[in-house]
Symmetry: C2
Subunit: 318 residues, 2 copies
């Protein structure tokens, strides 16, 4: 599939950072950035732009805050540098620390929101847009909050926001291709003048095929992570996506190298868990948040799959 | 998705047996059979029906031969027993050892063939059919041998064979959903009076979504394996498929139990490798046989992914 408008956005450090409180070493993140540059990836999301007043610097690593100085160092001297993106949660950014885009090491700001918080999200997006940033609205949990509130949020995103992109986010790894097709068509009913994006989770081994479905449906902003690292089951893998896209600007080989040198050892070491993990698969089937499964995997009952299944059934009957 | 005609065929022992020369212990296979029975799975494929004259009994385990006595013991006293299936390769079965279906512990015989060998396959299938067995034609490597020979094979399978089912087999884990849709429609152009089946491989994490695509296209015989065990990247997982199908006769919980008790330890032990393995992913992208990647993973260059990628490029240029 060769469509020049397609943009690959790698969130290895941002979504993967949810596994280790954003404690990745500078050297690893630099290595990822250099690999993404060599691979021709369009964007790298380095982390969250959170206020230091809200999160402890002893508990969380530097990619939770993404100070400008840090990001300048990160990109220093890198050729063919991917644009840099940061994720912002509503009410958690220190707006005094935000410079104009021309003076900033990052070019894109993505704002994560629930459908019900769309007004606050739009206000924030428009502020960043006025500062010169590319912006996106990432509507989380659309498989759960999928009533009229979703249509209203999409309608407002189109009419009131200056966002460049509106994202369909499969927070719970719940969708399969037929549902993706229906959701993208629903988004398109409202979003007429902006690009669409997709961020999948891999609970049911469907993040890549759902991304393919999005490509078939003219979605152009595609999220992925190296070796699928990310919260819970993780994400669509960068290597699968680059292997699928036929745009000659992409080169999968630097990604293969860093998988071998860093991500396989990281996964095998075992203190960071992502991928095909049965409780995460169950959470995906039940359209449930990954946190319960994450907590269970850290406790003594990590392989009590039947119990976890039955707890989901019981929760549904409550 | 609740469609009563859907049949789930678990090939854990047969396809998984390719990892260990069919050396699974009787106790494990019995445990799998009991779990599949409790889960309401329709068929269990126990292995290959190969002649002892062709394969060494010291090298290969009992599931390479599937003697009638062994299979009788396997199913002895199991309630709600799944039908039993065996796979036959052309020219490798000892036809003198085949009884009539009414006197046999297995009910289904599946014959694996390349498109070019369809005449031999049909002769074998018709012999088994005349003995009273349910039969299928499993056309391997359709993503490679996909010229007019495939249409001819399908035409003959429809007109000349007594097979109940004709399988689309994604031997190399190459397809994604759009190709599956096109292939099933191509199969349907020829196969008018028989059921269709699908056997996927998971090189690109697409075996489950391709199986879903088949379900959407009215394919009714669906192969899977517990925790995805199988040659190379393995298969569509039984637990994902049962989680997707809404037929109340299925119960995922016995499968969850045996994953925890047996398949997680087997995978973690590490001498049997299957799943998302980068060289297998690469083989899938290149539509290549898994054997090269399997051999590479057993050697000293098991993580030289870039080399393996470049070797595939070179092979394509030869």
């Amino acid at each position: 599939m060769f469509r020049p408008k397609i943009k690959v956005l790698d969130c290895t450090i941002r979504d993967g950072g949810l596994l280790n409180k954003h404690q990745f070493s500078f050297d690893l993140v630099r290595k990822v950035y250099v690999a993404l540059a060599a691979a021709g990836v369009d964007y790298m999301e380095a982390g969250y732009k959170n206020s230091r007043a809200l999160f402890s610097e002893t508990e969380f690593g530097p990619w939770k805050f993404c100070d400008d100085d840090l990001l300048w160092r990160l990109k220093d001297g890198v050729e063919n540098a991917p644009k840099m993106s940061v994720l912002v949660d509503i009410g958690r950014a220190d707006m005094n620390a935000i410079k104009k885009a021309v003076d900033s090491p990052y070019q894109m700001v993505r704002v994560a929101t629930y459908a019900k918080d769309i007004d606050k999200c739009i206000a924030l997006v428009n502020t960043f847009n006025d500062l010169g940033y590319e912006t996106s609205i990432n509507i989380m949990a659309s498989s759960r909050d999928s009533g009229p509130e979703l249509d209203e949020a999409l309608d407002q995103a189109e009419r009131e926001s200056k966002a460049d992109v509106v994202y369909l986010v499969d927070t719970f790894g719940y969708y399969y291709q037929e549902q993706i097709d229906a959701m993208v068509k629903r988004y398109r009913k409202w979003i007429k003048t902006k690009e669409l994006g997709f961020h999948g989770h891999n609970n049911q081994q469907l993040a890549f095929s759902n991304t393919i479905q999005c490509i078939m449906n003219d979605v152009n902003y595609l999220d992925c992570t190296i070796y699928g690292i990310g919260r819970g089951a993780g994400n669509c893998t960068t290597e699968l996506l680059l292997g699928f896209l036929k745009n000659p600007k992409f080169d999968i080989r630097p990604i293969l190298d860093i998988i071998a040198s860093d991500f396989i050892p990281m996964r095998e070491k075992g203190d960071l868990e992502w991928g095909y993990v049965i409780p995460q698969m169950i959470a995906g089937i039940f359209n449930a948040h990954p946190e319960d499964a994450i907590a269970m995997r850290k406790g003594p009952h990590r392989d009590k799959y039947r119990e976890f299944w039955e707890r989901q059934i019981a929760a549904g009957l409550e």
